[in-house]
């Protein structure tokens, strides 16, 4: 009973800005550190140790960047949709801030997925781009991210901006599968070349580095999300007492009391 209690207490604490700020700040070095280790291990493995593909050749190594990025682009949007729902129904400010802070990360992953996908497609299947369901949906997803970020930036009042963005994200998440299947249907009428990783199972020697980079991507998302959420809290709550205490404490502790810089490879 007691452990159940403290778990609930922990979640409640996360909903309060000063506690989130502190807890996230303590977790950040671990998240970045773990990300760095896994990213280096996974990418080195995929780049130099894993085998080339029988059919595709060396270009399959792009998979270790492209696939985690694509997974994250969709996962983050789904998480944002969940947060949007909670934000609209329960109006929890911390959830709103997490949602807004997730958007740029999701957009970045989508962009990486699109660019790496195009660079994978050219040497492997002969073309940078094709309007099949998968790639088109990924492009539309980028537009959805940009639209949500643009809408939020255009509204001055933070709570109102969050509500508007939540609504847009929910509309988008419903639309995304519809878009995917309508483009798929459209394509079956016109039968162009279909690009993408085929449904065949991946060889274990390629699966392990892929899983490692996928987990690294999730850690990157969490670390980046916490950094951005903390920044937003600092800006929005700058007149509040807890921020002043925090800034003063940092000043006393020394000039460079920041979370460690990005562990990006």
């Amino acid at each position: 009973m007691k452990s159940q209690n403290s778990f609930i207490v922990f979640f409640h604490k996360l909903g309060s800005p000063p506690h989130f700020y502190a807890i996230a700040g303590r977790l950040l070095p671990w998240l970045w550190g773990l990300f760095g280790v896994l990213a280096v291990v996974g990418l080195y493995w995929g780049l130099f140790r894993a085998p080339a593909d029988y059919l595709q050749g060396e270009s399959v190594r792009i998979m270790y960047v492209h696939v985690p990025a694509a997974w994250m682009s969709m996962l983050i949007y789904a998480l944002m949709a969940g947060m949007a729902f909670v934000a609209l129904v329960w109006r929890i400010r911390m959830v709103e801030i997490l949602m807004i802070s997730s958007a740029p990360v999701g957009a970045a992953f989508t962009l990486v997925a699109l660019i790496s996908g195009a660079l994978w497609g050219r040497p492997t299947w002969g073309t940078y781009w094709v309007w099949d369901a998968r790639l088109t949906s990924e492009l539309v997803l980028l537009f959805l991210y940009l639209g949500a970020m643009g809408l939020h930036a255009a509204i001055d009042e933070p709570r109102k901006a969050a509500r508007a963005m939540s609504l847009l994200v929910l509309v988008g998440v419903v639309n995304l599968p519809i878009i995917h299947y309508s483009v798929e249907w459209w394509n079956t009428l016109h039968q162009p070349a279909s690009i993408g990783v085929s449904g065949s199972s991946i060889h274990p020697s390629m699966l392990w580095p892929l899983l490692i980079t996928a987990i690294a991507a999730k850690l990157y998302y969490l670390a980046n999300l916490f950094t951005r959420a903390r920044l937003r809290l600092l800006e929005q709550d700058r007149r509040k007492h807890w921020v002043r205490k925090e800034v003063l404490a940092a000043e006393l502790a020394g000039p460079e009391m920041d979370e460690p810089g990005a562990g990006a490879h």
Binding site: L43, L47, G57, E58, S59, R61, I62, V65, H66, A69, P104, V105, A108, L111, V112, I115, S116, L119, W120, R122, P123, G126, Y220, A223, N224, T227, R228, R230, L231, L234, E235, R238, V243, R244, V247, L248, A250, E251, D258, E259, G261, A262, G263, A264, H265
Partner: protein, 55 residues
């Protein structure tokens, strides 16, 4: 215009990894740098207040 088909796979791999690195590094660093600016600004504001509010 050069024909990208003559590039070998290695060029594409490097280009893809490089693009990912640049985008993700920028995405990670931007809030860190901005947080530093915000904190420095707040420290200045607070020190002004503590010294009596006269600038």
């Amino acid at each position: 215009m050069f024909d990208p088909m003559t590039f070998d796979h290695g060029t594409f791999i490097i280009a893809a990894y490089a693009a990912a690195a640049v985008i993700l590094a920028w995405c990670a660093l931007a809030p860190v740098l901005r947080a530093r600016k915000v904190r420095a600004h707040l420290q200045r504001v607070l020190s002004v207040e503590r010294s009596g509010g006269e600038r």
